[in-house]
């Protein structure tokens, strides 16, 4: 029976006056009917102010002239910011870079996370130790690790080139990782992968441990070895979590900002390379908004990116479902 249907207790013998009874009644009503809403109100109020409002107001800003350096330049711009977007080479370049880095980071990240989760999904000595160990990159501040990787991928004294030279590559002409699109994308994708593999591995591990044991027993009749077991039983069984991580890394990957920012030799400019080789959309939004002071145009880019994320996340979820369930 529901608490709200409880009648208030009859006035106690110590305080039999009618006014005290009324007060208790009022208090009881307040406590059961209003207090629950007061408890959840902070979330909704704060989300409305700092989450929902900016997202909607962003659409308004994107339809206006809005400059940080010139308060007089204001007024409705109509679709001007959006039509400018369509012909802006920087935007398309950034979109291309974002997708390139996104694919190079998401695919290896999730596959390696699956393999590590599969390793962790054994009876191990020091279970907690191994699980905590794979989280080292996750707790490392992305600014700190990216600055380290920026040095790792130096041309002359960088460790990446040293490793390459050990296996016989580029001893004469060390690779300039920042010079080309493909090499800078690989460098940035490496940073993203390093950071998120362990985290995703724990998500997968958690789902793997929820698989009922008899599923494996049934499959053992067909003689499935550990490898086939992984790809034919485990992975299809954890498909919902795989879809979840694909959507999560789509949302995160398409907004990639920190790594490309700090990979630059002079991060403050937000150039994404001398020729924007690796400038992502989130970085371009920052540059347009806070280096060129054009908030209206930056807002239009944000909305475009929002729509792109929605579409891509939906497509990826569908693809994963088909790909994972078909086998």
């Amino acid at each position: 029976m529901s608490l709200t249907q409880l009648r208030p207790a009859p006035p106690s013998p110590q305080r039999p006056t009618a006014s005290a009874g009324k007060a208790t009644l009022w208090w009881h009503r307040f406590d059961t009917r209003t207090v629950p809403y007061l408890l959840i109100a902070p979330f909704f109020v704060l989300f409305a102010i700092f989450g929902l409002f900016p997202l909607i107001f962003n659409a308004v800003v994107s339809l206006r002239h809005w400059r940080l350096d010139d308060a007089d330049k204001t007024g409705w711009a109509g679709a001007e910011n959006y039509s400018r977007l369509l012909t802006d080479a920087d935007f398309w370049n950034a979109l291309f870079n974002t997708f390139g880095i996104f694919i190079l980071s998401t695919v290896p990240q999730l596959v390696l996370a699956l393999l590590i989760a599969n390793l962790l999904n054994h009876r191990l000595r020091g279970t907690t130790f191994w699980r905590v160990a794979v989280l080292l990159p996750y707790v490392t501040p992305v600014a700190a690790s990216t600055l380290l990787f920026a040095m790792f991928f130096q041309t002359d004294s960088g460790m990446a080139n040293w490793f390459l030279s050990l296996v016989g590559f580029g001893e004469e002409n060390p690779l300039n990782w920042r010079a080309e699109k493909w090499s800078s994308w690989i460098a940035i994708a490496t940073m993203v992968n390093w950071k998120w593999i362990g985290y995703n591995a724990l998500l997968y591990l958690s789902a793997m441990q929820a698989i009922p044991r008899d599923v494996y027993e049934a499959a053992a009749v067909d003689g499935a070895g550990p490898q086939r077991q992984l790809w034919q039983i485990t992975v299809p069984m954890i498909q919902p979590v795989v879809i979840f991580t694909v959507v999560l890394s789509t949302i995160g990957g398409l907004q990639l900002f920190n790594e490309p920012m700090l990979f630059d030799e002079n991060p403050a400019l937000a150039n994404g390379g001398s020729d924007h080789q690796w400038q992502t959309i989130a970085q371009l939004i920052y540059q347009v908004g806070w280096r060129d002071y054009n908030l209206g145009y930056a807002a239009a880019m944000s909305w475009a990116l929002f729509l792109i994320i929605l579409v891509v996340a939906a497509i990826n979820a569908l693809l994963t479902r088909r790909f994972g369930g078909g086998r």
Partner: protein, 283 residues
């Protein structure tokens, strides 16, 4: 041809191959952190060497002093700012999320389920995309360039509400709540003396996850605090690395200092952090 395994992997003992592969993974996770320390302790001359140095040197204090005394970077202040921001955000998140989680799990009120659905829905909103408007809003409030601009949006989180609701639903018996209400305990009394003691583990988990995430935030702090005298440590690091000539031993000494608090948290609360991530995944 292949080995027949009748057991689920989680019941199978790891072989030496399992341990070897995990050790490689551990090495790859930990090496960048070790190398960060190596660079933070080296001289410029050592860093110019090829092949790269792999052993720490003794210049850590020298490099550190340079970082802390550098003009226009405000590194010492930035560490304090980060502690303030992360602590306030964590405390507030724990308070508001446990209250809301309690209401959603144990109290009956009209619209409870639809409202919970809205909370879950907001988890998927990429709020980074509202930064332009958020900046304008903070400008109207005159909060840009102050720590409040970084603290306010983080005071409560959808994930926290969701996580707390799940935990309280399991950890707090409904009969206990009803019984104490019949005894005349108010809602807040129930929260204080029944719910709070039962959810300490969940508070630890959510607290650690929130602290780590807040400490590491970069984009929004950079936008609102960049170029001011009140950076967070992540923004100060980016300032340290900006300019025409980057001195890596300095940058990475700073990076190392800003990383140490989180490594300590991982050592002390690793079990809880693992638990939080794994529990958040299943539901």
């Amino acid at each position: 041809m292949s080995v027949v395994t009748s057991r689920a992997p989680q019941d199978t003992r790891g072989t030496w191959k399992t341990y070897l592969s995990l050790s490689v993974a551990l090495l790859l996770s930990a090496f960048p952190l070790y190398w960060m320390f190596v660079i933070a302790t080296s001289t410029d001359a050592a860093l110019g060497k090829y092949p790269p140095v792999l052993i720490p040197s003794d210049q850590f204090m020298v490099n550190l002093r340079e970082v802390f005394t550098l003009q226009n970077v405000y590194f010492a202040a930035s560490l304090i700012n980060s502690v303030i921001v992360a602590t306030v955000v964590t405390a507030s998140t724990l308070f508001f999320c446990s209250l809301a989680g309690f209401a959603f799990a144990k109290l009956r009120f009209k619209g409870r389920n639809p409202l919970m659905f809205v909370v879950i829905l907001t988890l998927t909103v990429p709020n980074q995309l509202g930064v332009v408007a958020l900046y304008i809003l903070m400008g109207k409030l005159q909060w840009n360039g102050t720590l409040i601009a970084v603290i306010a949006p983080g005071l409560v989180s959808a994930f926290g509400v969701f996580y707390m609701r799940q935990f309280i639903d399991h950890a707090v018996p409904g009969e206990l709540v009803e019984a104490s209400r019949i005894d005349g305990a108010s809602t807040m009394r129930v929260y204080w003396s029944i719910v709070l003691p039962a959810i300490r583990p969940a508070l630890a988990v959510l607290g650690l996850l929130t602290f780590v995430a807040t400490w590491n935030e970069f984009q929004w702090p950079l936008i609102t605090l960049g170029g001011t005298e009140y950076p967070t440590s992540m923004v100060a690091l980016s300032d340290l690395a900006s300019g025409n000539f980057v001195i890596y031993r300095r940058v990475l000494a700073g990076a190392f200092v800003a990383t140490v608090p989180l490594l300590l948290l991982l050592v002390l609360g690793g079990r809880q952090i693992v638990r939080g991530i794994m529990e958040g995944a299943v539901k």
